[in-house]
Every structure is written in C-alpha cells, then in structure tokens.
Symmetry: C2
Subunit: 557 residues, 2 copies
C-alpha cells in the first residue's frame, strides 16, 4: 500500500460513510492534511440522554500539525455542526462561503472558539492553495444557498468532493449548479469522484425547489384563518417562497424559533433572502391581527417535543395557538425515525380542528438532494477514473455504486468504503484498507468536552428495561452481625406503593442470605454482594418475571 | 343521552380508535353486551421494557355478567392478541372462523385458558343470536384468509363493523369479499357503519394480493444462489404464492421461525394453504443442498433483533447464513417506527454481498387494507345512516370521515370518536360523550397479570436519560454522628472507572452536608435526604451538565 508516497493521497472518512450525518473527510499527503466538512449527527431513540454525536477525531488530533485547512461545503449541521468541537482541538484556517461561515459562527461563539477561529470567506470560483492541495469551489444547488462542491488538485490528480447537491434548473435563490466548471474538470480529467448518495435510491430527477410554489400558493388561497408554515430553519429557498406568497396574499409574517429567527437575519443581511421588513411582525403580536392577516413561520417539522409546533399542538405555547380552521403546513421531509413524533403532533393539531398538509398528502416539500438521474449526470459530467459514494447508509452507498456502474464506470474502479477505513489513491489505483487506531463516534451528554462512554449508555439502556433494585446491608465491622435492618430502594421496577409485601419479603430474604453466610464469607464484601444479587434476582424473576439491575451495597460500621 | 333506553345501543371503544392496534369494541344494550375483537399492541421505543400493551378492560369486567359473546373478525394479533388476557377475567363464548380460532388457540394455551375457553367456529353466512344482538358473519378479503365483517342486528337497526378488509378482485386464497351480502344489507337499511381507516390516506384502490406474483417470479428467475423470503407469519396468501413459485422454480422450501411454522401447519390442515409436503425440508438441512435448490421462508421483516433474519444479517444464526449473491426479499410493509431496525438489517445483508428487494425498490408487497376507493365502495354498498371510522390514529379517522362525506354521508351523521369515549346510537341519533370510569391501556412487562404502572415507566425513562446516583450515609441512631464514610453508587451517569475524583469529591460534599446540619435536622431522615439531593444535584450539574436521578439513602445503626 505504500508505494511512491509522494504520489499518493490517503482519504480517511471520519464520518458519513455508513450513516446519515457526521460528514467529515480527511485528505492526506506525506506533509499535508485538509479536511472537508465537520458534521454532527443527532442521536436515535436507542441512545437515551445523548444530546449530540460527533465524529471521533483522534486521527486528526494526532496529526494536527499537518492540518492546512478545513473546507466546508455548506451550512447544514450534518456538515458544520462539529466545527466548534474540532476547533477546540485543532488550529486550522476554515474556508467556506459567507452564508456557511455565518451560520457556523453561532455555534463557534457558543463554544467560545469564535475568537480564535480563522474564518476565510471564499467566493465561487476561488482557488485556495493548502500545502500539496489546491482547492476550487464550485457552486451547486441544494436546499440551502451558497453550497459548493470542492475540486482538489492533488499530487495524484483532480479529486472532486461534491458535498450535497441537486441539479435544480430553476433555483429560487442564486445560480444554477455550475455545470460548465464541472464539465471543464471532466474534460481535463478527474482521477476520483466522491459524490452524495443520500437519494441514490430515488428514481428520476429531483424536482426543482420551485415546483412546490403552486401548491403552497393554493393552500394560501384556501386558508381563511391563521396559516402556519413549518420547515427547517436553514431552508432559505423555502422561506423565500413563503415570504413571497405572504406578500402576494397580504399576510403579515411572524417568525417563531431562535434558529429560524437567526437564519432569517443572516440570510437577509447577506442578500440571499429578500423580504420587505414592513411585513414582519413580532410573533407575540399575532393575536392583535385577524387570523387571515397573518402567517406564522415555525420550526418543529420533526415533531420535536419542545418545538413551537409541538407546544401549539398541545395548546401549551405561551402566546400562539392553533384554532379550528387554521391550517398547518409541514413543508419538510419527515426524517426516518421521526414518524411517530410527527404523527403525534399531527393528531393533536387535527383534534384542535386544524387542516394539515404534509409531504404525504400534498406537494409541499421537495428534497435538496439529487436523485438517481442527478447522480448519473454528475458522474457523466466529471467522467472520473475512480468513484467512491459518500453520505449515507451502506444501502445508499451500494445503490450509488450501482448507478455509477450503470453509466460506465468499471466495477473495479468503484470502491464502497466506510468510516474507519482508509482509502489510498495513486495515479493508477484506488484501494481500501482497514485502518488502525481509533475511529467511530463521540457521544455527548452535557458538557461537550466530556465524552459519554459506551458502557454508560449500555447501563442506561439496561436501567430503562426493568429498572433497578438496590439492597443495602450494614454489617458491624467485625463482619459477624447485621447492624440494622436491610434497606431496599428501587426505581423503574415495580410501583413501590403497591409492592410493600414484595419488598418486605425481599428484605427478609436479604437478611436470610447474610445469616446463612459463614463469618469468613461475611468479611468478604464481594461474596456478600454476589449472594444477595443471585438470590434476589431469582426471587424477582419468579415473582414478577422481570429482571431489574440488582446492585447490593454492603456498608460496615 | 338516556332517552328510551330500550331502543339505544351504547358503543364503547376500548382500543383502536386513536391508535393502530389494540382493536376492541363493546356493543351494549340494557341487558346485553357483545365484544368485537380483542387486540393487543406492541410498544414503541419510548416504552422501555414493555413487552405488550392490552386495552384496559375494566369497563367490561365491571359488567361481565352481561357479556354474551366475543366476536373475532380475523386472526391478526391486533384483533385477537388480548383474547387470553380477556378470558382470564371474563367468561364468555368466543365466535370466529376456524382459522381465526386456531391461531388464537396458541396463546390461549400459553396463558392456560384454552381449557375453559368456549370457542365456536362459525362458517360464513352464519347468524348467531346473542341476547339483544344477532350477528351475521360476512366474508371480506384481507391479508389473512377467513376474515369477516360483522353485521349486528340491534334494537336500533343494523350496525356493520367491517374488521380489516380490502376489495381484492383476484384473491389468492378463498372467495371475493361478499359484495352481494353487503349490498343486500345496504338495500335493507344500515343504521351505522364502523369501517377500517388504516389506509384512509392512500389514494385509489389497493392492488390485489396477486399483483406481486410476477415481480416475485422475476426475482426467482434472476436468483442464482439461495433465496430468502421474509414476510409476516400470518400472511397466508403471500406464503401460498411463495410455495407456488418455489414449485415452479424447482426449489425446496425451508421454514424458519416458530410462528411461521405453526401458522403454515394450521393453514395447511384447514386447507387454506396448499403445498406439496415433498417440497418441505428442515431448515437445518439447507446446507445439504445447492444454493439454487432452496428457498428459505423467514420472519423478521421488521428487523426484530432476535429474528432469524437479523441473526443471519450479523452472521449469528446457528445454521443459516447469507452469502454473496444470495437474495433476500422483504415482502412486508415496514411499519412506521421500524425503519431504523429494518435499515440496519438491510445494511448488514448488503455487507454480506446479498441482493435485497423490499417494498421501496420492488413490487414485492401489497397492503391488506383498503385504500380510499375501497373505503368509498364499502360506504356506497352499505349506504349507512351514520358513520364512524375505526382502526387508526386520529389522522386516519379524520381522513376517513372526509371520504365518507365525499360520497354523500351528511357531515352531521359522521362521528369521529376515540378510545375512552362513549357512542350512543338510537333510531334517530348518534352522539359521542366523554366516558366516566377507567379507560386506556395496560402495559405488560413480565407477568401478564401484573400491570406496569405509568409511574414505573416514567422512572425508567428518567433513569435512561442521565442515569442515577445513590449516596448512602449511615448515622448513629442518636442521629449526631456519621457511623461510617458515605458510599456512593451510580449507573448510567458517568464512567465510574474514570470518575474517581468526581465521586471522591461527591462523598466529601455529602459528609459536609451532614456535618452542617443541626442535631435536630440530623434526626429527620427527609431533611437529610433533601439536603444531600439538592447539593449533589447542583454539583453534578455544574461539573458534568448532567442531571442524574439522585436518591439519597439514610441508614441508622
């Protein structure tokens, strides 16, 4: 694997190959490293108490003197959400478009690294030299403006890393994807393409962002009372259409949610979002207007329990409410895993008499990721020698590899790699190896600098299954006698108020266990604990068919 | 609400109106009660440790002398899964088709109530008199054979309860839905229709079960190695097509999974499933044959971690394995909430080099529930005076109500009711009231006769969020002095091996708290506990930004 090291680039996926989110890729030569994207990921329901997931960046930290730059493709959290975490551990200049950097700055400030961060705003077409690499930023359309693909000139040739993209022929904000530059690179010769696999399983071409305009227009027309429009706070194109339609239908715009308010401010300042400030009202003033005079922009499209939308669904919002004949539009993809929480919100809104539109009953959302035909077009424009699918679960990567084969990339030139592996590319070859050293994910609960260990997570899951029982015995320090009656505390196992008998018996059993031990055994805390644990587990299993965690405590006085 | 009680029927939804699963409906006159269906429900991820959910049947138990019969529409667990639980508490004859009763018997045996259960097999068209009610069983097509709708003749007129159905014009097994009988009832006059809302949000008509045959046939043709076909164990029509295709393609059939084996046996004995026993091989013998000579029928379509399919995906199955170029077909709906677990299984199977077909990339599954056009046809056949949508979340019920209105049922004659309410129907009216008394769900973890209390579940969820910390202090019984150093145990909070310092400090803080209390305060266990809890919570929150459950224990010697 180590032939002529001067003409070799190592590519190390720290995240995003084998999962959605956590996108982070390291490109390395003998002397230099650049990083593309630093994303985070939100936890699943099977990770109780976890707030965030970061990629494990030990690989990078161990080589931090080599890091020449961090390049960001766009301002979505699955691409920039770990930037603060990375900058806490590594000093390197950051490059991205202005919108991307502005959105990222919020969290940098929160983490206290904004001051030391060296943020370099690039404009489209810019070329940046970073050691052995030279990076060119190429505009692509996506659900957030100012998105780029990155073409790296490297010692082994041109490597193109697409970021997230689709080919939107009629984008709402900004230009088309820069097909000309992509075609030019293709003509010059691309050694390796790494391309977004998110929607590889989707047929055809992803419709334009503009394709939902008529349908939302129609909803505006039909709505006689308040109108709530719910989307991701970063969906600036979507928000532009909302405010355009609000103006058309003479509704004032109220915004709820901190991230939405921030992003609207940033996008307006940078000139991406164009709206007449006279149309903006404070969300607290909605009640001052007639229902047909307002539209409320809100987050909470995923049914997040603390979002404005979820609070309104339960009529718990401090100053906004959903009333009969109000209309709620969920203009966002329902992310797999969130169906239940979104469903709950929808059910409650319907109980309040609202009309609901979502992607499953109306044309109110379109994806920002290219479908199979967009992906084929990207490959055909670049005509790469080697191809590696990125961004997605294994099934998406495999499907994207099939698409690449279908447009003529030889099967032997396609590599499906995953996090934790190492890709070595030379002028003639592209191989995947297992990687030594740490890789994986860092779970964050509470302080971001304190990692949540897997074992703690496993304990949480075990505690949640059948709860816990803690028998406490106090022995005299000579070890022969019980100093006081055993105590038992328990949570998540049975309803204690109605289980007095069960615990009285459990205490007697505990006392019995001690009395049956020899004096020598009583001196050994571990033996006492083991005996109590074994006997009580058997007892609870027989009585309740449940298996709580039994954690005996032996104190000595 | 209580006019002439002799011409009133009360309808009490104990489950299934406001959720999927748990279907159970009580029909009541002054002297008589009948029950239609006794379903259970599987828990969501937000109910850790819960095995099963039953409807709360207190309403029925309080009136058990009035119960004349339990009528079952078909053999799916969301309609029969709580039968044993109900029969443990109520003596009543059970009526259902033979297949339904045979499937139900398994669990009755398990619960030890098979001996006392009075099971009455009905044949289609049978009429059964049960006090003030007379029930007629009408065949409908669904994903399991021998399904029925039930027409009740009552003092207020005919009430039709559809059970699950679709109008399949070319069913694989058995007859068409009995459109003639439904039309006859419609002509005679139907007072109230209660109809299945599961797929009310789906456009058009649900395709025939037979519509997937060609696509599965094609997969058989293309598969050169082992073929795994994964479906629900009760999908007898689906299994019939699988075994037919196995015969056509000269593959032997191996069956894995207890429920699948049982249902195949029952359905074969009753003549629903027709297969040549010579084609059956023991799943343990699969390895004795060439890969292209076998097809393996398996459960695990929802990615259940202990299913054969999930074990094979991880190469943990004792005698079956998935190898490169094997093909796996997931011929089932991916139930919302199961996307992640199914996705995990698919990813692992792909890593083994298998080809995967599922409902999202091939025509390998079709629903057993009618879509909007089937639902409209049912309403048009019966032309009921009043209409109540059943089976589904609130959004499905609302959508079905809209469909009923669209085919001419006056809006004022449509009632969207939910569990916990009471529907009163007279010859002239149909009204919904709030119901007094207990209603809801019974959570089962372990022994089915012991209910899991909501508070225990809440404790489990809290334990799973940030874990727990239990500080233990032993005081001399005069209350003035600490008898031994405080002890702290903890799980699910931090990794204890790396947090020695944190706990040493926490112990010192605990000791400090005690020392700062007055002698009077030390005598009051609750005061000691409160002080320790407050101080430690603040400490952990500051140090870790986590909020474990802190449960101080005070022992006295």
């Amino acid at each position: 694997m180590q032939n002529d090291i001067s003409s070799q680039v190592s590519i190390i996926p720290l995240g995003g190959l084998g999962e959605f989110g956590l996108n982070m890729m390291v490109y390395e030569t003998e002397d230099d490293i650049i990083v593309i994207d630093t994303g985070f990921m939100l936890p699943n329901a099977d990770m109780p108490g976890v707030d965030l997931i970061f990629p494990d960046i030990h690989y990078l930290v161990e080589r931090k003197a080599k890091v020449r730059g961090i390049l960001l493709t766009h301002g979505h959290e699955d691409h920039i959400g770990a930037l603060a975490y990375v900058l806490q551990q590594i000093d390197a200049p950051v490059f991205g478009t202005q919108l991307t950097l502005s959105i990222a700055s919020g969290r940098l400030k929160e983490y206290g690294v904004l001051g030391k961060a060296e943020l370099n705003a690039i404009t489209l077409g810019d070329k940046v030299d970073l050691g052995a690499f030279s990076a060119e930023f190429i505009h692509v359309t996506h659900s957030i403006p100012d998105s780029v693909a990155i073409a790296l000139r490297t010692p082994v040739g041109v490597i193109v890393h697409t970021g997230d993209f689709k080919f939107d022929s009629t984008p709402v904000i900004g230009k088309l994807s820069d097909i000309q530059s992509l075609a030019r690179l293709g003509a010059e010769g691309v050694q390796l393409l790494l391309s977004d696999s998110t929607n590889a399983n989707w047929q055809g071409q992803t419709p334009s962002e503009r394709s939902i305009y008529d349908s939302i227009d129609n909803i505006f027309q039909k709505t006689e009372q308040k109108l709530f429009l719910c989307t991701f706070s970063s969906s600036i194109h979507r928000l532009q259409q909302f405010v355009d339609l609000a103006a058309k239908h003479h509704r004032l715009v109220a915004v709820t949610g901190r991230s939405l308010t921030n992003n609207i401010r940033i996008a307006t300042e940078l000139g991406h979002l164009k709206m007449n400030p006279d149309y903006l009202i404070d969300a607290r003033d909605v009640a001052l207007f007639k229902p047909h005079e307002v539209v409320i922009l809100s987050t909470g499209s995923q049914g997040e329990p603390r979002s404005a939308m979820a609070l309104m669904a339960l009529d718990n919002h401090p100053f906004l409410n959903v009333e009969p004949n109000d209309t709620v539009v969920i203009s966002a993809r329902i992310i797999p895993g969130n169906e239940k929480s979104v469903g709950n919100v929808v059910n409650h809104l319907l109980r309040r008499g609202a009309k609901i539109y979502h992607e499953r009953n109306a044309n109110v959302h379109v994806s920002g990721h290219g479908s199979s035909e967009d992906l084929k077009l990207m490959i055909n424009l670049l005509q790469p020698k080697f191809f590696i699918p990125i961004h997605g679960e294994y099934q998406n990567l495999v499907r994207h590899a099939e698409l690449a084969e279908s447009v003529g990339i030889p099967r032997d030139n396609i590599r499906v790699a995953e996090d934790g592996e190492l890709i070595c590319i030379t002028p003639d070859s592209c191989e995947v190896f297992e990687r030594q050293g740490r890789s994986g994910r860092v779970l964050v609960d509470g302080k971001p600098e304190i990692e949540l260990e897997d074992i703690v997570l496993r304990d949480r899951i075990q505690l949640s299954q059948d709860g816990m029982v803690i028998p406490i015995v106090v022995l005299h320090s000579d070890g022969k006698e019980i100093a006081t009656e055993p105590e038992i505390i328990s949570r998540g196992f049975v309803y204690m108020d109605e289980s007095e008998e069960l615990f009285t018996e459990a205490k007697e059993i505990t006392r019995g266990v001690i009395e049956n031990l020899t004096n020598e055994q009583k001196q050994e805390t571990e033996i006492v604990q083991d005996e109590i644990r074994t006997v009580l587990r058997r007892f609870f299993s027989k009585q309740m068919k449940r298996s709580p965690l039994v954690l005996p405590v032996v104190m000595r006085v």
